[in-house]
């Protein structure tokens, strides 16, 4: 085999999560009462637009979660470097490095260097090793760029025709879903992605960073970290918040007191400090047991996993409090009293009667938490308790770029790239979460609360 697959901890969990989501979708689709709120969600234009955008991010993240080790050229053994399918697809971006900063679409480096020219030493901006290297003279650059953008737009236009036909068919089959909005969003994505893809063949579309790495590549790599933090954290948060919250509200008495005490205590510690303390401590554990990890990728991945676990352990309190209140209310209702009178066991009441009736709160909380977690990653990485410094994430990108704000002329492209990618991801997640809340919250549906 030319490669061996390589599973990181977060990969495994992410794939399990995807499997769970697929199973949940299948489960819902066969039960009209579970599918109904999702149908309401996808009837809103905003939700449709956002899910298309989020789908793009998920595809990038998933491609980046299939890791493997390539066979070495000599044929004996495999490379120690773990790469993902995304790395493979973007190998020209990953491997073609410049010496240091260069502006987006530039042909020359950012800083002047001493060069030998016709036997004389001159100080000038040297040509880039790869960006625009195919050009015979730099005067061709504007035309070349325009041609590449034109070619990209042509492809997008071709895609538009196909999309138009597809949307028309879907619209006829399922008229209640806003296919047109989804199609338009996809078209906008194509109109951006195709030109960028063509440009990226010959230029650094978003420039290069201090060590000469392509910023577009870094931004695309950061997506996986954001998605992992936003989703895997909920894997820790949900079971804790659900179990403790529902149990406190249902059993009352000493159980309620104990659980309330636990979450008041955790809540009273400032969350950044608690996370910082926990991450610092785990870092010591990682350093002490360096032999647990065969590769640097595994070590960075373990730290990411730990970060998710810590974020989950420190943020389940909000959900638990919500669910406690809801379970307290539900346990007073007649149908639960009736179940008691029939002698139904507590475990059965909890699983059959309470949990399904708090499910909407859990789903709303899950999608609402996502954007906050993505933003938190950037802040934590800035503080120094986020992901491993070697991992590319939006936080580490911002952190590295921040120090360059004082330069003249300013190095803005790393920051701008991180800003745009994060903004689009978080905005889409926020709007999608709003649509989910409107679709699931019975109070909104009944018109008690304005959407």
């Amino acid at each position: 085999m030319p490669f061996v697959p390589f599973l990181l901890f977060t990969d495994v969990l992410l794939w399990l999560l995807i499997a769970a989501v697929v199973f949940y979708a299948w489960y819902c689709s066969r039960r009209p009462h579970l599918a109904a709120p999702w149908k309401r969600v996808f009837q809103s234009k905003a939700a449709m637009v956002c899910s298309v955008v989020l789908f793009f991010f998920v595809v990038v993240g998933v491609l980046d979660s299939l890791h493997y080790r390539a066979r070495l050229d000599g044929g004996a053994g495999y490379s120690p470097e773990v790469v993902s399918l995304l790395d493979r697809a973007l190998s020209h971006l990953r491997e073609l490095r410049e010496r240091t900063y260069s502006a987006p679409l530039a042909t020359r480096l950012y800083a002047k260097e001493q060069m030998q020219l016709d036997g004389k030493t001159v100080s000038d901006f040297p040509r880039l090793a790869h960006g625009g290297a195919h050009l015979a003279s730099e005067a061709e650059r504007p035309r070349d760029i325009a041609a590449r953008i034109g070619l990209g737009l042509l492809c997008a236009a071709f895609a538009a025709v196909v999309l138009g036909l597809l949307v028309k068919r879907l619209q006829r089959r399922r008229p209640e879903v806003p296919w047109r909005a989804a199609g338009a969003t996809l078209l906008v994505l194509f109109a951006v992605a195709f030109p960028v893809a063509f440009l990226a063949q010959g230029y650094h579309v978003l420039g290069t960073d201090k060590v000469g790495q392509d910023v577009l590549y870094q931004a695309l790599k950061s997506i996986r970290v954001s998605l992992i933090i936003g989703t895997l954290t909920t894997l820790v948060l949900l079971p804790l918040g659900m179990a403790l919250g529902v149990m406190a509200g249902y059993f009352k008495g000493w159980m309620d007191d104990a659980i309330q005490y636990l979450y008041t205590t955790l809540n009273s510690i400032p969350s950044v400090l608690l996370i910082a303390a926990a991450v610092l401590m785990m870092q010591v554990v990682i350093d002490r047991n360096a032999d647990w990890f065969a590769t640097a990728a595994q070590r960075a991945d373990f730290r990411l996993l730990i970060l998710c676990a810590i974020l989950g352990l420190t943020s389940w309190t909000g959900l638990a409090r919500l669910l406690r209140g809801e379970a307290l209310k539900l346990s007073q209702l007649e149908y639960i009293q009736a179940a008691h009178a029939f002698g139904v066991a507590d475990s059965r009441i909890l699983s059959r009667h309470i949990l399904p009736n708090v499910a909407h709160i859990v789903i709303i909380a899950m999608v609402m938490d996502f954007s906050g977690l993505v933003l938190a990653e950037a802040v934590l990485s800035y503080v120094g308790v986020g992901v491993d410094p070697a991992t590319t994430s939006f936080g580490t990108m911002i952190n590295a770029a921040r120090l360059e704000m004082g330069r003249e002329p300013i190095v803005w492209w790393s920051l701008a790239a991180a800003f745009v990618f994060m903004f689009v991801l978080v905005l889409a997640a926020n709007l999608f979460a709003d649509a989910v809340r409107d679709g699931f919250d019975p109070r909104v549906r009944m018109g008690f609360v304005p959407a």
């Binding site: 610092l280 954007s371 800003f419 905005l427 304005p450």
Partner: protein, 325 residues
């Protein structure tokens, strides 16, 4: 009332003990003092003597929970748990890793933090309520719709970008205010304008949207319908009746964070070089100064519990229907 407050203060004690236990577990059980010493001294080529010396200097050379060598009460008091964790209850924080007294650092640093955080809170409150009122007044119009969209967009921008962008535009491009730094007394003004402004702008998205929801929820109540039925103008209904009633959730939401204002803001302070508790905490985290982090965790929880207590008291002040038992 007094009995209630007393009971709440007593209830705070087990919570603080819990906080203490959690920090003790995190800092001393997950990692032994030896690990900490190695981290502080660098991992390579550390002699056992150097570690012992560091531990003795920092006072980490005692047993964790029970000192078998000491006698009498010393069995319990001459331990790391007593010296490092129990003493926090007396606000005795001991020295930081660099030898400076943590308590006196906190006393001098809390004022710049407050000077930054209090204006952000007050101005932010005024701005957010104004925007939320406007959106509620023009509800279900394009103004309201785009207002909400703008709020969500502003919520989606990381606080880091507000700070970096604000610093760049105001200080580097327009040279309006110094880029960072701090001075005591009246001079503090020019250093604080930009951080306060950025803090307010950064909070508009989430704040206005939340208050708008509160107002709209309040506007669907019966007394509002009654007021309209009496023929009151919409602006009177909104400002005289709705605003007053919505103040209850707003105020109580604000009161809980008031004590925490002393802790300062981590990001803003460290970006603008304001010598407050926020930047102190960040420096401690980055220098891995556990004594400071431990103290800040303890103070933070004390202030949070104080905030909860104040919230309950403020309920009775703004809403006479509520009686504390």
């Amino acid at each position: 009332m007094l009995a209630y407050i007393l009971r709440r203060v007593l209830y705070a004690i087990p919570i603080l003990i819990g906080v203490n236990l959690i920090t003790f577990l995190l800092f001393f059980v997950v990692n032994t003092p030896d690990d900490m010493a190695r981290m502080q001294l660098g991992t390579r080529r550390v002699t056992a003597e150097a570690i012992e010396k560091w531990k003795a200097e920092q006072g980490y050379d005692k047993p964790l929970l029970l000192n078998a060598k000491a006698d009498g009460a010393g069995k319990l008091t001459q331990t790391i748990f007593y010296e490092k964790s129990v003493r926090l209850f007396a606000f005795d924080f001991g020295p930081a890793e660099d030898g400076r007294d943590i308590a006196s650092e906190i006393r001098t640093r809390m004022w710049p933090s407050l000077a930054l955080a209090l204006p952000v809170l007050l101005v932010g409150l005024a701005v957010n309520i104004t925007f939320a009122m406007l959106m509620a007044f023009f509800r279900a119009t394009y103004l309201d719709f785009w207002g909400v969209v703008l709020c969500v967009a502003m919520m989606s921008i990381s606080a880091l970008f507000y700070i970096i962008g604000g610093q760049y535009v105001a200080s580097k491009l327009w040279h309006l205010v110094p880029i960072s730094g701090y001075a005591g007394g009246m001079d503090a003004g020019k250093f604080l304008v930009l951080p306060v402004l950025i803090g307010v702008i950064g909070g508009i998205g989430a704040g206005s949207r939340w208050y708008r929801t509160l107002f709209l929820e309040e506007m669907s109540r019966d007394y509002v319908r009654t007021a309209r039925a009496k023929g009151l103008a919409e602006s009177v209904v909104l400002f005289r009746h709705v605003l007053k009633n919505a103040m209850i959730p707003i105020l109580t939401g604000v009161v809980v964070v008031v004590p925490l204002l002393f802790m300062g803001s981590l990001l803003t302070e460290s970006f603008f070089g304001i010598p407050g508790l926020g930047s102190y905490t960040i420096d401690a985290i980055q220098a891995q100064d556990f004594a400071v982090v431990r103290s800040m965790v303890f103070i933070g929880s004390v202030l949070y519990i104080l905030g909860l207590l104040l919230t309950d008291v403020s309920y009775t002040l703004v809403d006479p229907r509520i009686k504390l038992q």
